[in-house]
Subunit: 352 residues, 2 copies
DNA sequence: GTGAAAGCGCTAACAT
DNA sequence: ATGTTAGCGCTTTCAC
């Protein structure tokens, strides 16, 4: 099993009868290499299965040729949230096309945050893709910015004056689409189970919910089944979970205890929606006959759920693609921008 | 946001008033460094937030300080199979403790296999953790072996004469535990929905199923509700899915079409079990009253399912830990071994 | 178009 | 216990 000595650029140069510099030029720009030399080099490479050593290249260029996928999440949630896998896949794909490798890191607490920051500063990677859907990540982002590390964030950062790129779906718009659908399909007493407070996506979705309900109530002023004191209504009909199924169940139970006339609920993740359904069933309520429900994400859980969930689809392929694209541009010195992607309502059987 | 020049070992040496070699010694073994110098170096490092550049180190040592997590899977299954996430997490954790970074690669087809192999041969990583639960990966493993890359595999390789380490759960034993439980709790006509043919875990579980049924039938010879022609019974009562919920539904439907007296089924993944439940319900069958069901994995889906699934738990934390441990030992030159972990029956509500 | 030479940041003999 | 020196494999001026 002796690891055969890996061939180096030197071997190729010798084999092709040219200098190492020429091989290097061939490897990169392909410019200023005579087609004759190019042929010989090509042959030598094929013959030896030569592949350049990244570490040497990184050392020489000061570029790592890799990026970090940084998860700022409490560990247990990684299991519950299928969206991570979806995004990870999309990002891995896109990175693969640019043959940039990536390494994954998770940040659980302030201490790890510091450790990771130091690691990243050491120049192991050219940039980082930061994901933190469950908790506020602004301190990490600030650290990255301070360290001068090109960064993109997979959400709308709470502080969007920070020079980092970001891409996210239109949380506000998505919430509006969901709530409008519920209202248009007979919902009168609609509640919301939101994600955790902290990430700004939560705020935007909550705003979307409130605005939509407000607008609808104004238009249909006469309707006695609609809420009267809107302020108070929203205070009691919006509860905050942690995106897990368990918390969805909890939240729904709480909601029902406060108001048993709820007939529709917009839930900020499919996983929580599954939990909510369980709570609803526990009270003998039927979906969608008694209460309609709309989730968020269109994760695999949405299709598997019983009944299959109407939900707001997050286009993770697109998100991943833009994330990588953005990051590469920032690494190339361009100014970071924010990208907001539309999201789409997928109608299944949890609504009427 | 100018990236402040990263401090190098040289800076530290100067700051501490020692030579670079001494700093290097401090950084690594900590040996042959006077406590006096050590103090000064430590101070300098803290002051500058110095972290060694991995690429330089890798170049100098010939060790990469990182490993590859290699997924040999068709892309779509990555979404469906929560076990990947579980294992990934465990591995990431364990690697983190040894502060070894890792990069993730996926291999979808023969072409990518070649590409990845070349990449890995280039010395980017010290070793490979290979996962391929849904399809046979022996050609990739052979390639890895041929290239002399230290490798561990997260399953029982079909060809276990290959010099790679592996760790997996006792598939045979797990299947036996499940089927025995079913039989002991009133199951008479038990069927099996297996994973895809190819990976050897499938074979072992199928064997566990057959052996258990055979043994039980021999012991209870008189019982008229037990199968008569065992050979034929197994041929028709074992079907092969692809671990996805959809395939579980399909398989169950097929099974029911052949024999509507089935009263228990052992399913080789929780996801498929969820699909199977759906198929059962479509026929108006109740779980666990009419038919009992046991899954495999104890993934999050098992808890979320309705009813919550009795299942065989795979200890992914342990698996990840052993995988990394094994790999490190192989990298250090030890001969690879196989590790088989026990798995445990978790009783929930899909059985009586 | 091509080669010589310097150097990226680090480690590892070797000498002291 | 510490410093000196020579690379690791590659890129990149700078001459030619």
């Amino acid at each position: 099993m002796a690891q055969q000595r890996k061939s180096t650029i030197h071997d190729i140069a010798q084999l092709a009868g040219v200098s190492r510099a020429t091989v290097s030029r061939y490897l990169n720009g392909h410019r200023w290499v005579s087609s004759e030399s190019a042929e010989k080099i090509k042959a030598a490479i094929e013959q030896t299965h030569y592949v350049a050593n990244t570490h040497a290249r990184a050392l020489a260029t000061g570029k790592a040729g890799s990026v970090a996928f940084l998860l700022g999440e409490p560990q247990k949630l990684l299991f519950e949230d299928p969206n991570f896998a979806s995004l990870l896949r999309a990002v891995a794909d896109e990175l693969g096309k640019r043959n940039t490798s990536f390494l994954m890191m998770t940040t659980d607490n302030a201490q790890e945050e510091q450790r990771n920051l130091e690691y990243l500063q050491a120049g192991h990677v050219d940039g980082v893709i930061q994901v933190a859907w469950h908790q506020d990540s602004s301190s990490m982002i600030r650290g990255l910015v301070k360290a001068g590390i090109p960064t993109v964030v997979a959400e709308h950062p709470s502080d969007d004056t920070l020079p980092v790129g970001y891409v996210h779906v239109e949380d506000y718009g998505g919430a509006r689409k969901a709530v409008e659908y519920l209202l248009d399909h007979g919902g009168k007493r609609v509640a919301m189970i939101s994600g955790p407070q902290g990430p700004s996506g939560t705020r935007d979705r909550v705003r979307g919910f409130i605005d939509t309900v407000t607008m609808y109530t104004q238009i249909h002023q006469g309707d006695p089944s609609l809420p009267v004191n809107l302020q108070e209504y929203c205070d009691t009909h919006i509860v905050y979970g942690d995106y897990s199924a368990a918390s969805g169940e909890e939240c729904m139970t709480k909601l029902l205890a406060q108001d048993c006339t709820i007939d529709a609920v917009f839930v900020s993740s499919d996983a929580m929606a599954v939990g909510a359904i369980r709570a609803l069933r526990n009270q003998g309520l039927q979906i969608p006959q008694d209460v309609q429900i709309i989730g968020f994400d269109d994760s695999s859980a949405a299709k598997l759920a019983d009944p299959p969930l109407t939900t707001i689809r997050q286009p993770f392929d697109e998100i991943g693609k833009h994330l990588v694209q953005q990051l590469m541009q920032i690494i190339d010195g361009q100014a970071p921008v924010g990208v907001t992607l539309p999201c789409e309502l997928v109608v299944r059987e949890s609504t009427r």
